[in-house]
């Protein structure tokens, strides 16, 4: 017994070592840097205490980016899980559901840069979407203008991410025995009610996990915004900045001297925020485990 444990220890410690030395320790180092004002190797580092954090929390641009990120997390999540719930209600009986799942999942593995580039081309004022609208008779919109661009980003993000959650939840749905639904329909329960009373409660665990995964992921949204809006001359408009984007812009400071302490502080705040949101999400989705 002991020798087996000892043998397994050797299996585990290399990964723990690598993880600790190359991920956890740098994170702590990053937290240390966040207490200084530093512009890179070769420049002096002055201690600032929590000055960087105060700066972030009071600066307009950062505050906007935090708000944007939260809006993205919430509204993106609503869009995604609405779509996922709809699929859970009907996909099981649809013909070609394997095909549907594959096609719906595909955008999730495509680089967000490619998605942002393609979508922003289509959403230009003279682009494909406005052309389609004109065929239907609807007025064209400035999709990439300051009012709508962030909503388009959220929509694009939700569209590309939804497939992942659909397949996760569908695999949970597939585990629900068919005769439950048969019994229900014989009782006169509609399909929609069946979703609410059978499907959702029995897959709630998986849904809770999905919610946590989404919340963690939504805080890190970066590439899709860059590809949607960024340009060499103007950076990303304020209405579209997420926290990760704001960090990148602090790194590429216009004065040429990056404030690495501020950049690190944002990173630390992002971690704390993800812990808080994960805790919140788990509390909101907590339920008695439903056994079958």
């Amino acid at each position: 017994m002991t020798s087996r444990k000892g043998g397994l220890r050797a299996f585990i410690w290399p990964a723990v070592l690598v993880y600790t030395l190359l991920f956890v320790v740098p994170a702590i180092y990053g937290a240390a840097i966040s207490l200084f004002d530093w512009s890179g190797i070769g420049t002096k580092a002055t201690f600032r205490g929590f000055g960087n954090y105060l700066f972030i929390l009071t600066d307009d641009a950062f505050r906007q980016s935090f708000i944007n990120t939260l809006v993205l997390a919430v509204s993106g999540g609503i869009l995604i899980f609405l779509a996922a719930f709809c699929c859970m209600a009907v996909l099981r009986q649809m013909k070609g559901r394997g095909f549907i799942r594959s096609v719906v999942y595909l955008p999730n593995i495509i680089s967000p840069i490619a998605i942002g580039a393609a979508l922003s081309f289509a959403l230009d004022s003279r682009g494909a979407l406005n052309q389609v609208l004109s065929w239907i008779g609807l007025p064209p919109q400035s999709w990439l203008g300051p009012d709508l661009v962030f909503r388009c980003i959220i929509a694009g993000l939700a569209w590309s991410a939804a497939g992942f959650y659909v397949i996760l939840l569908m695999s949970a749905v597939d585990g629900i025995p068919e005769d439950l639904y048969e019994a229900a329909s014989l009782e006169g329960v509609t399909k929609v009610q069946a979703f609410r009373m059978i499907t959702l409660p029995l897959s709630w665990d998986v849904f809770a996990t999905c919610a946590v995964l989404w919340v963690i992921g939504s805080l890190k949204v970066f590439e899709i915004v860059l590809a949607f809006t960024g340009s060499a001359n103007s950076g990303v408009p304020l209405s579209a900045r997420t926290v990760a984007i704001q960090q990148y812009m602090a790194f590429n400071d216009p004065s040429g001297l990056p404030h690495l302490g501020v950049v690190s502080a944002i990173g630390v705040l992002m971690f704390l925020l993800s812990l808080v949101l994960v805790g919140l999400t788990r509390r909101l989705t907590r339920r008695e485990a439903l056994e079958l």
């Binding site: 922003s120 004022s125 919109q141 400035s142 990439l144 203008g145 004065s255 040429g256 001297l257």
Partner: protein, 436 residues
């Protein structure tokens, strides 16, 4: 026993890995300071020009010619979208280039990082195979524009300026009688709109283009320093000229193309080049950028920004693009030699003929579209740097205050009065915070 076998295999792998790294090192020279002294050394040139631009091709050709002539290899690397930060970071960590290209509005950042070598010896030398010193090859105003208080920062190859672009073939009446005053121009806008045309191509997605209207109106009102002063004192915003300029900007919004605020850069200028819109207030580089989409029936031309108000100042913007030598690079000497080769007339000429920009040398002509602009810029009694030097001296203010507020003004999200009030407030906050 098995434990030790596993440990042994780990150790073996580790040893092999280290040995490989060490052996690979043996085969290579350890980089030393004398890399340039050897015959057939290397010059690393970090260029901001994407590989398929005419400028990149001109410089690559020059590099090839240089290598075949001297045997010195020129390693051209692409900067991508990293900007000055990438160059500064790379140089600080010892992997910086020997030379790079940029414009004087980034000079302060490079100077504070100690990255600009002393270029006076290049100025007093002669270009390859020519009889005049390099300093004499350029107009004085161009050399001044490329210098700051510490001396010459860049050896220029292109002059950048701005004006109003239009298609001379579609609107021949403007060739002889370009709108001379702002009111004339506005009347022209109104006339065009009435006849069903779209007067202005506005690149809503590019903040540094949106600001051009306000910028030129302020330059005409107060001359050089008009914009820079707005970054230095919040009270400067109370000047009635600022409100008047903002109101003018708001008044021309009806003449922009519909959907301009959702237009992704560079779609508006491409549509303009194809004849969908009439005017484009832009930089001297526009013809070069739309080269691939402009139909052969068009003849792009420019006129300078019109006079404005009773006491209009005749100031032109004179900015340059050029090369500089990295003081922290390994082969500064080699870079300087290569630059002396690059500034030959035959290469700078191509800036005009291939890249459709204004070449910086005095003995090279600009393309016909830019001839008038070149003359105006070089003859002008007063010139100012890019964005009135605000982008160079107050970059954070420029990006976060001026561009941000101007975008809102141009999109109609705030009124001119709000623009002035918020400008005042944010400039005061900027000055108080002490960032550059």
């Amino acid at each position: 026993m098995r434990l030790s076998r596993r440990t042994a295999s780990f150790m073996a792998i580790g040893t092999i890995a280290i040995a490989t790294v060490a052996l690979s090192g043996c085969g290579q020279k350890v980089g030393g300071g004398d890399a340039g002294e050897k015959s057939g050394g290397t010059v690393t040139y970090l260029t901001a020009w994407p590989a398929d631009t005419p400028q990149a091709k001109i410089f690559a050709q020059a590099a090839k010619d240089y290598t075949s002539k001297t045997g010195v290899k020129v390693d051209i690397k692409q900067l991508g979208n990293g900007g000055s930060t990438a160059i500064i970071n790379a140089s600080n960590s010892g992997t910086g280039p020997d030379m790079f290209d940029d414009s004087p509005d980034n000079a302060p950042a490079y100077r504070s990082a100690g990255l600009i070598a002393d270029l006076s010896d290049v100025l007093s030398s002669k270009a390859e195979g020519e009889s005049t010193t390099i300093k004499e090859d350029y107009p004085k105003s161009v050399i001044d524009a490329a210098s700051d208080k510490d001396g010459l920062a860049f050896i220029p190859h292109t002059i950048l300026s701005g004006g109003v672009w239009y298609d001379a073939n579609a609107h021949p009446e403007l060739v002889s009688k370009a709108p001379a005053s702002w009111d004339d121009l506005k009347a022209e806008f109104a006339k065009l709109k009435e006849s069903g045309k779209v007067p202005i191509a506005q690149e809503g997605g590019n903040a540094s283009y949106n600001v051009l209207w306000f910028y030129w109106l302020m330059l005409r009102s107060h001359g050089p320093g008009a914009i820079l002063n707005l970054s230095k004192s919040a009270d400067a915003w109370s000047d009635p000229a600022v409100l008047a300029a903002a109101q003018e900007v708001a008044s021309i919004r009806p003449y922009f193309q519909s959907g301009y605020d959702g237009s992704r850069y560079p779609n508006a200028q491409n549509a303009w080049a194809q004849g969908d819109y009439v005017f484009d207030l832009n930089g001297s580089w526009l013809a070069g950028e739309v080269k691939s989409v402009v139909p052969s029936s068009a003849k792009l031309s420019t006129f300078p920004f019109p006079t404005y108000g009773a006491d209009s100042k005749s100031v032109e913007e004179l900015n340059v693009l050029g090369w500089t030598v990295n003081a922290k690079g390994k082969n500064a000497k080699g870079a300087k030699e290569f630059i002396k080769f690059l500034v030959q007339k035959k290469y700078i000429e191509k800036i005009g003929s291939d890249a459709l920009n204004i070449p910086a040398r005095s003995d090279v002509k600009a393309p016909s579209a830019l001839a008038a602009m070149q003359k105006a810029v070089l003859d002008s009694s007063a010139t100012t740097g890019y964005m009135d030097n605000a982008a160079a001296n107050a970059p954070t203010w420029y990006k976060d205050v001026l561009l941000a507020l101007d975008d809102q003004l141009v999109f109609g999200k705030i009124t001119p009065e709000e623009f002035v009030a918020q400008g005042k407030e944010k400039t005061a906050a900027y000055i108080a915070s002490g960032t550059r």
